[in-house]
């Protein structure tokens, strides 16, 4: 295994040999693990700095603006300028706030997202730690984000912040249901919860076997991040800034960074579960290539999140909850049932892909027809108003 095929594994082996020769085994294990942890975690944080610039630039293009273009070439240093600004801002902690909870919440919001990166398979052999319960771990750790929002809203002692936190509970908790159920479909297709096995099993990308599940996963993930059209928890025009109304300076910045990282993490998870992760031509031999593929695919998912964000307006809270409980949840449950039965019957045969595709199409069609029938009935029941004459200008 040469340097160019596996640079990180190559260097890692040298460092590992060095440490194990120098120190007793327990200490060497600890320091080596610590080193790899710092590498993975700082990768996640460094990418945020880049992402904020990318998002501002692309969002600006969507809105027919230029975006940041003053600090450095193409405004690349804008984020660093923002960080300096946020650090030098006064940190106001409201007098009536619950101080401990208030201070922990922004840290927790970053930790919750960063922890997901511990099990992201970057390339063959490049993974923080290949837990055999990786998917369950992601589901568990992702829920910490909800907790941080609830803590922030509750401890601020501000009515708007509290309203934002309530909405967060209703929204994030609700959308976790279809997300978990659609996550079960790739687990079922790969027969494993390990992230590495999940990628290795995708000779055929799972988006081909379960396109509707992928779509539902994407939608509910956008809701989990709390981006437009699901940004009710920080709707500026209704509840000031939602759960982080009382936060200033770097603490606000951490919520902000956590949200950006979460949005990109969603894209990366979508790539791992449905787009084949690091798989691509040459990824097995040259591992750096695998990482490039994963980042490209993850960025594609992130781009979709941004695209949706700049296209759709915010939806009403009852619509948001109805979409989840009355459409996404039943559809994802029936998809899971259908995938399980079809994969058991046709799993080993050549009919696997067409059967699963047909099943997805049937569920989508049925869902659409039911939705159309219901919406027509509701339109009929809607009270009609008489047209009033409009005053015409003389």
């Amino acid at each position: 295994m040469s340097f160019w095929q596996d640079p990180i594994g190559f260097l890692g082996e040298i460092i590992r040999n060095f440490l194990f020769n120098l120190l007793p085994e327990a200490w060497a294990t600890f320091i080596f693990t610590l080193l790899s942890v710092v590498i993975v975690a700082s990768f996640g944080l460094i990418i945020v700095i880049f992402l904020i610039w990318v998002e501002r630039k692309i969002a600006a293009r969507f809105q027919d603006r230029l975006g940041p273009n003053r600090a450095g070439p193409y405004g690349l240093l804008q984020t660093f300028a923002d960080i300096v600004k946020l650090i030098t801002k006064e940190d106001v902690v409201p007098e009536k706030a619950d101080k401990l909870t208030f201070n922990i919440a922004p840290i927790l919001s970053v930790v919750a997202v960063l922890l997901i990166w511990a099990v992201v398979p970057f390339a063959p052999g490049w993974i923080g730690t290949d837990l055999n319960v990786g998917v369950l771990y992601i589901a568990a750790v992702g829920s910490f984000g909800i907790l941080s929002i609830l803590m922030a809203g509750w401890s601020s002692n501000n009515k708007y912040a509290l309203l934002g936190a309530f909405r967060a509970v209703a929204q994030l908790i609700s959308y976790e249901v279809p997300m978990l159920i659609t996550l079960m479909v790739p687990v079922l297709l790969a027969r494993s919860m390990g992230m590495m096995e999940m990628v290795q099993d995708q000779d055929v990308w799972f988006i081909v076997l379960a396109p509707v599940s992928g779509l539902i996963f994407m939608v509910s993930s956008i809701a989990e991040v709390g981006r437009t059209p699901f940004d009710l928890l920080e709707a500026e025009s209704e509840i000031v800034a939602g759960y982080h109304t009382e936060y200033t300076g770097m603490k606000f910045g951490l919520f902000f960074a956590g949200e950006f990282l979460h949005a990109f993490t969603v894209g990366v998870l979508f790539a791992i579960f449905f787009l084949g992760g690091w798989r691509g031509p040459g990824a097995e031999e040259y591992r750096l290539l695998g990482m490039v593929y994963l980042m490209l695919k993850g960025f594609l998912g992130y781009f979709i999140v941004m695209w949706v964000r700049s296209t759709l307006p915010r939806i009403r809270i009852d619509h948001m909850l109805a979409l989840n409980w009355k459409f996404l949840t039943p559809v994802s449950l029936s998809l899971l049932v259908l995938t399980a039965i079809l994969d058991k019957i046709y799993g080993e045969t050549a009919l696997r892909i067409p059967a699963l595709l047909a099943g997805n199409a049937v569920v989508l069609l049925l869902g659409y027809l039911i939705m159309r029938a219901v919406s027509r009935r509701q339109t009929k029941e809607r009270p009609t108003f008489k047209k009033r004459p409009v005053a015409k200008p003389a």
Binding site: T29, F30, L34, S36, V37, V40, A41, S42, L45, L86, I87, T88, E90, D91, V92, V93, P94, K96, I107, V110, V111, L115, T129, D130, L131, V135, L136, N157, N158, K159, Y160, F166, V169, I173, S174, V177, L180, M184, V187, L188, R191, M193, T245, G249, M250, K251, G253, L254, A257, I317, D318, L321, A322, W325, K326, P330, L333, L336, I341, K344
Partner: protein, 118 residues
């Protein structure tokens, strides 16, 4: 096996230190000039009326209850999905039956109006 969880343990600590660093740095660099009005609750300039922690809509709580059912269901179904190859068709159908019972629960909540926001 031990090492994989050691990694997670250290990761939690490191992941907590990283966001802590800028906050600590800000504590040294940032100005600190508090006054009573600045530290007051922010409501766009209007003084806040009454207590913040008031009664809230019970609907939020009901959604949380319905969520709980499905969250636990997921914890049960993940092992079922992992062991899929070892299961005969009968066992798969049993898992499907389990899901259908939960769908019954969802329909019940739906009929009862627990999913209506009003």
């Amino acid at each position: 096996m031990q090492n994989t969880w050691l990694f997670i343990g250290i990761f939690i600590a490191v992941a907590a230190v990283f966001p802590l660093l800028p906050i600590v740095l800000a504590a040294f660099v940032a100005p600190r000039k508090p006054n009573p009005i600045k530290l007051d609750t922010y409501e766009c300039g209007i003084e806040t009326v009454g207590d913040t922690w008031v009664q809230f809509k019970v609907q939020y709580y009901i959604y949380a209850l319905v969520f709980l059912v499905f969250d636990i269901e997921a914890a049960f179904l993940f092992p079922w999905a992992v062991a899929f190859d070892a299961l005969p068709l009968f066992a798969v159908l049993e898992g499907v039956l389990f899901i259908l019972i939960l769908v019954g629960g969802l329909l019940y909540a739906w009929r009862k109006g627990a999913l209506e926001w009003s």
